[in-house]
């Protein structure tokens, strides 16, 4: 029975759905020259949705617990919306130069956002799956947005096949859990798993769920799709799937593992620990060898996922808060890196080879500076934002029992330093290549201002990260 309270609780999601449909219709009647209307309306839709999220109409849960709205959901939603809005801003010049400036891009991204919002609010296995599939299907289509590019099509195909496999795994695991507990509701599953002694089937399910999560996150050894997709997708799409979905993935992991399967913590924590170390190792080491910046960032993502998992392995609220902080800091940092690639690309030229950045310090000093900030932040050098994410995660595992994880995290962070510094090195210490022209600044000053603010925020948040962590801690019910 749907009550008014349910609808009110889902107001942000409902509004976004209506807005997307309206945009889809409106877009049909726009001439290509008027496409900016879609662009701006999408951003407005995101802003209004964010405002509605903040208003918190209705109840803390709706539809009999299918949908929950707690601090975690609110915080993650806000940052998903913010990150997506940033992606839209950075992507516009890129899309316009490439005949990709189409309404579908915005509509598909917004559907992805809707999926993420449902995913992080999921209170039952069905909701998890629905949110995830909405996100995944939008992403498959987005990757293939540039349908004439063989690389894009190949990436989309790979993404789809492996993604479908992962969904299958997840669904299979969920069915096992349903079979063992007799419920799809995460709260009930939590209660049953905490007390059940018959664990055979549950464990079977947990393994598949963890595999599904690892696939979606891109954690090693289930990471194979990620570098190809990052490289093959148009950069505007990579920027989207490389940033906001990490927040949603954290939400999904939290919902399934903590809210649902907490009783089996001892089992999935060990699995996550192994996945984390494998991701750290493979991501960081493989990234060293890349010559394509997008591909390097893909491997770097894998290593960051490893770090994020480290926060989850202890099953403590502090660890979850650290992982959430990490996801937020990663999303805000990665979006700058992709944003700079987007802004430096021109019609007929993708600035995605690392060699394209040679001498950027001379050709475009300001972008080089912003990129350097981003790289130092990703590398985790204080006083930048990224360092404090690593600090919090390491703090969560630097306790007796998991010290080995802290040490492996540290060791691979050192490996990681090398490839991030290589970008700084290429930009500042190498001479521009013959024939490399000064990079044309994008015409619109607002885009430049937004990306500057975003990158400088990495520095400022490095000094004032306290409140943000405070919100994360509060969302997880840590009282100081």
């Amino acid at each position: 029975m749907i009550s008014l309270a349910d609808i009110l609780t889902l107001l942000p999601e409902s509004f976004l759905t209506i807005a997307i449909c309206a945009l889809l219709l409106l877009d049909q009647f726009l001439k290509p020259a008027q496409r900016s209307v879609t662009h701006y309306l999408s951003i407005v839709a995101l802003a209004v949705t964010g405002w509605l999220v903040l208003q918190q109409f209705g109840e803390p849960s709706a539809f009999g617990g299918m949908f929950v709205r707690d601090g975690i959901a609110i915080l993650l939603k806000l940052f998903v919306l913010l990150t997506t809005a940033l992606v839209f801003v950075y992507a516009r010049p890129y899309l316009r130069d490439r005949a990709l400036f189409v309404g579908e891009y915005y509509v598909l991204c917004l559907f992805g956002v809707l999926g993420m919002m449902l995913l992080v609010s999921a209170g039952s296995l069905v909701m998890v799956y629905l949110g995830l599939e909405l996100l995944a299907l939008s992403s498959y289509a987005l990757v293939a947005l540039n349908r004439d590019s063989p690389l894009s099509s190949e990436a989309a195909m790979k993404y789809f096949v492996l993604g479908a496999l992962a969904s299958g795994m997840l669904l299979y695991g969920m069915s096992m859990i349903y079979g063992a507990t007799g419920s799809l509701d995460l709260g009930t599953i939590h209660a049953v798993t905490a007390s059940s002694t018959q664990r055979g089937m549950l464990l079977f399910g947990v393994v598949f769920v963890v595999v599904g999560i690892a696939f979606k996150f891109g954690a090693a050894p289930f990471h194979m799709w990620l570098p190809d997709v990052y490289q093959g997708a148009p950069t505007a799409v990579t920027a989207f799937i490389g940033s906001a979905p990490k927040l949603a993935a954290f939400g999904m992991a939290y919902r399934l593992l903590e809210s649902g399967l907490d009783g089996l913590g001892g089992y999935w924590q060990l699995m996550l620990a192994l996945l984390a170390v494998a991701s750290l190792a493979i991501g960081n080491i493989a990234a060293i060898m890349q010559s394509n910046l997008k591909r390097m960032l893909a491997y770097s993502t894998i290593s960051h996922v490893g770090f994020l998992f480290l926060g989850l392995v202890n099953g403590q609220p502090e660890g979850y808060a650290a992982a959430m902080f990490y996801a937020i800091s990663y999303a805000l940092t990665a979006v700058v890196a992709f944003g700079i690639i987007l802004l430096l690309s021109r019609a007929g030229f993708e600035a995605e080879e690392i060699a394209d950045y040679k001498g950027l310090g001379q050709r475009a000093p300001w972008y080089a500076f912003l990129m350097a900030l981003t790289m130092f932040s990703l590398a985790g050098v204080p006083p930048l934002f990224g360092f404090f994410g690593k600090l919090l995660v390491l703090k969560a595992v630097a306790v007796p029992g998991t010290l080995w994880l802290a040490i492996s995290g540290a060791v691979f962070a050192i490996v990681g330093i090398y490839y991030y510094l290589r970008i700084v090195k290429v930009m500042y210490f190498d001479e521009p290549e013959q024939g490399a022209t000064a990079i044309a600044r994008p015409a619109d000053a607002p885009v430049r201002m937004v990306i500057s603010a975003n990158a400088l925020a990495l520095l400022i948040l490095g000094i004032t990260w306290g409140p943000l962590y405070g919100w994360c801690a509060q969302a997880l019910g840590i009282t100081k």
């Binding site: 310090g361 000093p365 130092f376 050098v381 204080p382 006083p383 360092f387 600090l391 919090l392 390491l394 703090k395 630097a398 306790v399 010290l403 802290a406 040490i407 540290a410 962070a413 050192i414 330093i417 090398y418 510094l421 700084v424 090195k425 500042y428 210490f429 990260w465 306290g466 962590y469 405070g470 801690a473 100081k480």
Partner: protein
Amino acid sequence: MFANWPLLSLLIWLPILGAIPLLLAGDRRPAAARTLALLITSVTFLLSLAMLSGFGASVAAAGTTDLGLLKNMHLQENLLWIEALNVRYHLGVDGISVALVLLTTFTSVLVVILGWGSVDNKVAQYMAAMLVLEGLMVGVFCALDALLFYVFFEGMLIPMFILIGVWGGARRVYATLKFFIYTFFGSIFMLIGLLYLYFKTGTFELAELAKVGLGAQEQAWLFFAFLIAFAVKVPMWPVHTWLPDAHVEAPTGGSVVLAAIMLKIGGYGFIRFSLPIVPDASMEYAWIVIAMSLIAVVYVGYVALVQEDMKKLIAYSSIAHMGFVTLGVFISLSLARSGNATGAAIGIQGAMVQMISHGFISGAMFASVGVLYDRMHTRMIRDYGGVVNTMPRFATLFVLFAMANCGLPGTSGFVGEFWVILAAFQHNPVVGALAAFTLIIGAAYTLWLVKRVIFGEVANENVAQLQDMDARETFVLVTLAIAVLLFGLWPQPLGNLMDAPIADLVKHIVISKGA
């Protein structure tokens, strides 16, 4: 008049914020950039002198009975930075830090003057990097919160990375990456150690960490975490190999900062972290550090002997001299534990004086090589010879610094080494003898360098055309020469400054904190 100022914050943030206008101005007006940088560093130096005004009195004003290591901390500023982790923006200086802060601000002025003529490329950015570096280094010496210390400690790598990478020599990229990765490698283990301590205590306050009881096993792990971090920074044998590369490739100013200040952070770290926080493990494993230090002073001394590149030679000589610092610190620990508090105090004093003096001497040596390099564009010893004939003023000063580098009595180089050797003999005559023996090696490589570069016939056309130093260079080297002689002839004020904190440190490390 400075009693109520947030003086330490000012010393940290004035240079860092001062770098912003420089960066914004860009390369358009190099002259203005130089002047502004000089102005900022000079003001910072003058302000840092104000730190001395209140020294001598104990800081009883804090009002608590148990002041621990904070008893000697002046000018404290204590604000909450990150509430959730109880990280504090806690600054303060005792005699030990004051000496190093003064060294930092003093050297920074000279570095800016040195860069006046020798850096023509991207002047504003060079000066900005130097200013940021200065602020961060002051921050390292003032931080009383371990995480704050770590942030400054690591943040320092970024400007140095850029300095070497942009303004360095031919193999600068290799050198700067090696420098960064080496140092980062060292410090991240310290971070894990600090996080573990936070897990135990719930605070990053150094004074609290010094009080917490720790078991032998825990102390051992923490000791090695700290050892890796600071040994790389000092650098100690066998993790010293980044230093010669970094020094050789760095621009003159970078070399001076690296040798005069950055290396000191390693020694300072041993005194602030290893000794007070894990005294028992430090005691137990002191032999490792002592052995590493002796290898540094003896073996690295021999390595210095065969170098053909002047900067490399001085870099190795730096490693050997820093070996005295670590030797002094860890010998004092065993002396303190065997009841010889006077000997222990002498050892740590010696280490501290050695750090300050090495700051002046190595800074001066690198500046001198810079003076030659600016004229000849070569650092190879074989390209020189008979410089005294064409550059008499330079030669006079260079010989003085060389003598100080050998530890000639009357120069500051003598005082620290003498005290350390004195303490070493009380600890173990063999160690003392080995340490003393190195003075001969030091004299050998330094004097041989002088002989080949300065003395003799004019070696070639290029040397014959050398111009003696201009007023700017003379000013820098004469200032350093005065410092070297002043602290050599009259080290007492420096000693007095550090007496109280060192005495308290010795009292503290005697007490075992086994839990």
